[in-house]
């Protein structure tokens, strides 16, 4: 079984007898051209939960959503909404509402008509429709725009109309397919909050698809990370950050992305060699049972400090080659003379690791690291400096599979 299932075992409150809001059971999806979009997806979403599907493009997150909506017919497995098997039902019969990336507003209908459409189809009487549309329009601040056609609206307004069309009836679930990706950054942040507030207010099960890990982290009660059609981990955002199931999740979550490099574990797991430096591992941080040899090490940029203190007691001498200021913090880029992580293990993870071969010789390979440091550090490009970190913040992954050996502390030991 995959790593996430063991996580699931220790995640409290999932299978405690409540009716699941949405349940994927062994859902497979293979397209006519032979490409596999989903591999045996098992996922249970609680009633009223806000779940985000995240992953790089092509990971299957949209396909999963479309199967849930009934827009795509899974080649295997079942889908249930509120305990009702909907696998063979069309989208019309599922009682779900969806917000599309392109908003998919009906361009030939006014805002009012767009909002009223789902209700009209249900044959509601005029008065009811008017009341409902007015309510939603009021809620989303669309009242002044009701007579306009979508073509005459700004991007943000269109997004609201699309939301409104989903909200206007009381569906079993909201499905959102990258609904904010066409908005500019400021608007995105604003809408992010608005959607979250709406969810809190309405309490309807929501599945939200995005490729943006920030959106996933900020919005999801729980986040499902997908890659190549396989579920990597389904967990609360903080746990994804601290205890990723594998190197892919580790590198996908967090910005700037986690620094990764090849390292070697010495005998008895007490010593690790990274970039020619031997780092002693305290007993609590030893990958016990792991044989000596190559291992992947990950250090989040936030784990570095410019000064030594109780937490940060391991030093690394670096030469910054680029310093970016974020105001309060600096992003200090430097090359580490260590072999980078094979691309295959991190592929398409937002190019979290960009290996640059300094020369053809493997021994002289270097890998790029970023340290996020307090702006007071006063480092300069080209001037050697020392950064500090703690072994508590090291993450170790299996060299061959990328599976997590050691997550950052404090942590629950993973069963291997």
């Amino acid at each position: 079984m995959t790593a996430y299932s063991s996580i699931k075992d220790v995640t409290p409150g999932v299978s405690d007898g409540k009716v699941a809001g949405i349940e994927f059971a062994a859902v497979n999806m293979t397209f006519a051209d032979g490409t596999t979009a989903l591999k045996s997806l098992d996922l249970t979403i609680e009633e009223g939960e806000f779940v985000v599907f995240v992953g790089p493009s092509g990971c299957g997150k949209s396909t999963a959503l479309r199967i849930l909506a009934g827009l795509e017919q899974a080649t295997g497995g079942t889908v249930a909404i509120k305990g009702r098997d909907v696998t063979d039902l069309g989208p019309q019969q599922r009682d779900i509402a969806m917000v599309f990336q392109s908003y998919a507003l009906y361009p030939h209908k006014s805002v009012y008509e767009n909002l009223a459409y789902p209700l009209r189809i249900r044959g509601l009487d005029k008065g009811t429709i008017e009341t409902a549309v007015a309510g939603v329009a009021d809620l989303l601040g669309l009242t002044a725009l009701l007579k306009r056609k979508p073509g005459a609206l700004s991007g943000g307004q269109r997004q609201r109309v699309a939301m409104g069309r989903a909200l206007v009836r009381n569906p079993e679930a909201f499905l959102m397919d990258e609904p904010l990706s066409n908005l500019d950054a400021a608007l995105r942040v604003e809408m992010r909050g608005e959607i979250k507030r709406l969810h809190r207010r309405l309490g309807v099960t929501t599945v939200y698809v995005t490729h943006d890990q920030v959106e996933a982290m900020t919005m999801g009660d729980r986040v499902a990370v997908l890659r190549g059609g396989e579920l990597q981990q389904f967990d609360a955002p903080q746990r994804l950050y601290e205890q990723p199931a594998n190197m892919f999740v580790a590198s996908f979550i967090g910005s700037p992305a986690i620094n990764l490099a090849m390292a070697a574990i010495g005998a008895e797991s007490s010593v690790m060699t990274l970039a020619g430096t031997e780092i002693g591992l305290p007993p609590s941080r030893r990958p016990e049972g792991h044989p000596a040899g190559p291992v992947m090490v990950g250090i989040r940029p936030e784990a570095f400090s410019y000064r030594r203190d109780l937490e940060h007691d391991v030093s690394l001498t670096i030469t910054p080659d680029l310093i970016e200021s974020l105001g309060a913090e600096l992003l200090v880029h430097f090359a580490l003379p260590a072999a980078p992580v094979p691309v295959a293990l991190t592929s398409s993870a937002k190019s979290a690791v960009s290996p640059i071969a300094l020369s053809g010789n493997a021994a002289e390979m270097s890998t790029r690291f970023i340290a996020k440091l307090d702006a007071r550090c006063a480092y300069a490009v080209g001037k050697p400096a020392t950064v500090w970190f703690s072994t508590d913040h090291l993450m170790l992954f299996e060299a061959a599979t990328g599976r997590t050996i050691l997550a950052s502390a404090p942590m629950i030991k993973l069963s291997v």
Binding site: Q101, S102, Y103, A104, P107, P150, G151
Partner: protein, 450 residues
């Protein structure tokens, strides 16, 4: 993506299209005619005789008998196409057809037409031109009742030929007196003389005749071929005989004459010849007798009353020409559901009275010899002048005695098409007469082998 959607956000008017459809549906033209009354469906050529039948005789027939005849006017090729299709399907949609006689063999042999022998009394048979009856029959059975005949006759500009100045100039140039030609040599000389001269402010040319690809050039050339004693086929139509000395001589004369036609003549069809005559741009013309009405129509002609008609010149002085015959007949489809009514109408169209009536109304030339002496016709004059309207009739009667039909066998229409190409190569100087005719021979023999 929003850009993508934007392309769809403009006003639409599907309703317009729907309304248009609805409007058209209500304006649905009369379908499903009442079937109590017998209605005959007929196809005629949009020539004057077809127009006369449609506009005058058919309505009159309906008044007299209660039988309605729906006459559709369709071009020559279209009639042939239509008959081919209808007959292939044994379709009864049409009862009566107006046929070029050269189709009688193919449709007669194909068994698609009804015998009409019983329509004619002995008197009728004696009165109708013998040649016309012959070309309406196949294997001794009459399939097409003649409606009009018109042999080739030679047209000449009487006013031009009578002009003393022109006469004097001609004499000065050629040493001969200017008179309507009686021999091919004279005609050639006159055509050559007139070609390119100026008369009454416009350039005139030697002569005009059909010369276009298809049937046009073949029809003109046949009059030459027959005049020189040539024949297109051997007795049983099993071999083409276009390389005989007679055929070569005829074709040479014809090709020589072609040089004295107006520019563009190689595409001349019947209407172009008529136009040339109407506009007075040619001195002579080889044209169907009947077409003379067109030059006497003041609405479209500048030469009203100016044209006169003589027999086609003979090869040698004192000899006899053999003009090529044109004739249109009326046939009844074997698949007609109202065969008897159709035959009755056909017979009625060609009673003596109606033969004359058709001619007097401006239809085709009569098919009964006796009609040619009917005073209604012989005494008719052009409006506002003393010129006789049917002044051509004497010449037509003479021509009818020596006229010859097209090769009368089932493949005539295809044959015309096949020889037309090589003949045009000759007339355009692309091929020598001998080579062209040899090629025509080969092509015809190939056709026969199909």
């Amino acid at each position: 993506m929003p850009q993508n959607l934007k392309r769809f956000s403009f006003t639409r008017r599907t309703a317009t299209a729907m309304l248009l459809g609805a409007a058209a549906a209500t304006a649905l033209p009369g379908m499903g005619m009442a079937q109590e009354q017998v209605t005959l469906q007929a196809i005629f050529l949009p020539a004057t005789w077809g127009v006369v039948v449609r506009d005058v005789l058919a309505p009159q027939y309906e008044k007299e008998t209660g039988v309605k005849v729906d006459v559709q006017l369709v071009g020559r090729d279209a009639i042939h196409e239509k008959m081919a299709t209808l007959f292939a399907a044994q379709d009864p949609s049409f009862d009566i057809f107006n046929l070029d006689y050269s189709w009688i063999p193919e449709f007669g042999a194909g068994g698609h037409l009804l015998p009409l022998d019983d329509l004619l009394s002995e008197d009728d048979k004696a009165d109708l031109f013998k040649t016309a009856l012959e070309v309406g029959s196949w294997n001794g059975t009459l399939y097409g009742l003649p409606q009009t005949i018109h042999p080739h006759v030679l047209w000449y500009r009487a006013d031009l030929y009578a002009d003393p100045e022109v006469q004097a100039a001609y004499k000065a140039k050629t040493g001969s007196d200017l008179a309507p030609p009686t021999t091919m040599a004279e005609w050639l000389q006159q055509a050559a003389y007139f070609n390119g001269t100026q008369y009454e402010g416009q350039t005139i040319y030697g002569w005009a005749a059909q010369a276009a690809k298809g049937f046009g050039n073949v029809h003109t050339w046949l009059t030459f071929l027959y005049g020189y004693g040539g024949s297109a086929f051997n007795e049983d139509f099993s071999a083409s005989t276009l390389s005989t000395p007679e055929a070569i001589a005829a074709t040479k004369q014809w090709a020589e004459m072609m040089k004295y036609m107006p520019p563009g003549s190689s595409a001349f069809t019947y209407d172009d010849v008529t136009t040339s005559a109407q506009q007075g741009t040619v001195a002579t013309a080889l044209q169907w007798s009947w077409g003379a009405f067109a030059v006497d129509d003041p609405a479209s002609s500048k030469t009203v009353g100016d044209w006169q008609f003589v027999e086609v010149p003979a090869v040698e002085a004192g000899g006899q020409s053999h003009p090529h015959l044109a004739s249109w007949v009326i046939s009844v489809s074997k698949y007609s559901k109202h065969a008897d009514e159709a035959k009755k109408f056909t017979a009625w169209l060609e009673t003596k009275a109606n033969d004359v009536l058709q001619a007097s109304l401006g239809g085709g030339d009569p098919v009964r010899a006796s009609s040619y002496s009917d005073p209604t016709l012989t005494e008719a004059k052009l409006e506002g002048s003393d010129v006789l309207r049917f002044r051509r009739y004497d010449v037509v009667l003479k021509a009818m005695q020596n006229t010859k039909p097209r090769p009368f066998f089932p493949g005539e229409e295809a044959w015309e098409t096949v020889v037309s190409g090589p003949l045009q190569a000759i007339q355009l100087g692309e091929k020598s007469v001998e080579d062209g005719l040899a090629e025509a021979d080969a092509a015809v023999d190939r056709l026969l082998s199909r």
